[in-house]
Amino acid sequence: MPTSAVNATLYETHHPVARLYGAPLAELPEDLYIPPQVLRLLLEAFEGPFDLLWFLIRKNRIDLRDIPVAKLTEQYLEYVATMKALDLDLAAEYLAMAATLIALKARLLLPRAAEGAAGEEAPEEDPRARLVAQLLRYEQYRQVAETLDRLPRAGRDFTWTHPVEVAEPIAPPLPVPTLQALARAWWGLLARQDERRPHEVVEEPLTVTVVSQALVETLRLARRPLTFSELLPPSAERRYLVTAFFALLELTRLGAVDLTQDEPLAPIVVALTESADEALARLALEKGNG
């Protein structure tokens, strides 16, 4: 019954985890029925495993010395189970933290004598120390973020004056952009749309066919085989990289390029074959023109 466990303990704290209609949820009466959507809102408000752990540590602050790692782990796992039960998109980091805590708990069940016998064990091996350091560092930034939020801020607490009209308009000497700069700005925007919510912006220009042509052209201009990372620079937009990766697979399938690797983990080398043009033409036919 993870949900009820959360209900019972959530409101003991003064740490407002989320706000409902502007009121901190942590201050709601304990017996109030929490509709699942509200609980969801609450759990979604955690910024990750560190935040959740801090919430638990703070919640049990009455006497921290009484809380063994076992209890912290159990509570953490309950929250994670609730998140799963509510079908929240649970970040992998929560599960990784769960694994770390379970490992810590298991370690405590082992006889302590083993540690003493070894005399001086390497202290950097201690996963607890690492977790403590990480939690402390996170807490520092969590606190200072709140402080920053309290500083008077343009747009919320004050407004910069807007430029007044000038008696006789002075055409700002904006330089003419290059066509490439303009096209690149558009391309960058399209790539960005992809990472944000779905949008109606027409995105057809970046197709496997078009990118295949560009890759072949790149190889041709280079006049030598290129390594995978020369051809797909990691600095390129992710959308381009993904499309280019598929394009490369297509080109390989159609025999336009050869992929070779001298040994495991060595750079993959991409070489143009003689039938590249023919393969490109076939690709354009198969996919329709991009």
Partner: protein, 191 residues
């Protein structure tokens, strides 16, 4: 909004109007200025405060004017040489915001300011559109139906000619960008 204290007690209405007019991104009508106050002081109070404010600013380098769209501050002609030197200092290159806005209007236009903000993921400053308009690169070509009937912006023939293009169809599509990418790689490979 933790600060609910209304400054009416501290400041005469004209002081607040002054701040509102300087903060606004467009001329404001008396009706709009009334909306800023709660309770509504009525047109007469606003109109007389505006008249006082106008007198107060007389003989200075800025003046309060009433144009067709409403009330706004404007610089006087005599400061023009100073401002020309100010504007000559800036904009040696197009900011990313300007370039992206221009790209959206060029490729996606006609578009509204709201649509541009949505595509860029940030609220667009109206001043940015004004700069592009003053440069003769964009213009209002109509209004979108719907609340507020927002203006639709499109690029002008002037922009196309400044870019050396005959029509919008000649705007580069992706293969050319990819070709440029190819050229960059080539440069990196054969120095």
């Amino acid at each position: 909004m933790q600060r609910t204290q209304e400054p009416s007690a501290h400041w005469p209405v004209r002081r607040i109007l002054e701040a509102i007019l300087f903060a606004a991104d467009r001329p404001l009508t008396i009706a709009e200025l009334r909306q800023c106050f709660d309770p509504d002081p009525g047109s007469d109070i606003i109109a007389s405060a505006l008249a006082e404010l106008q007198r107060e600013w007389e003989g200075r380098a800025l003046s309060l004017v009433c144009v067709a769209e409403g009330w706004r501050f404007r610089t006087v002609a005599e400061v023009q040489p100073y401002l020309a030197r100010l504007f000559a200092q800036q904009n040696r290159h197009l900011s990313r915001a300007l370039l992206e806005t221009l790209a959206i209007i060029a490729y996606q236009g006609p578009v509204t300011r709201g649509e541009i903000s949505e595509i860029r993921g940030v609220e667009l400053s109206p001043n940015l559109l004004r700069q592009l308009e003053a440069r003769g690169w964009i213009e209002i070509v109509g209004h979108r139906d719907g609340p507020g009937r927002p203006a639709l912006w499109a690029i002008t023939p002037r922009l196309l000619s400044d870019l050396g293009l005959k029509s919008r169809d000649e705007l580069p599509s992706l293969p050319e960008v990819a070709a440029e990418h190819a050229a960059k790689i080539r440069n990196a490979i054969d120095p």
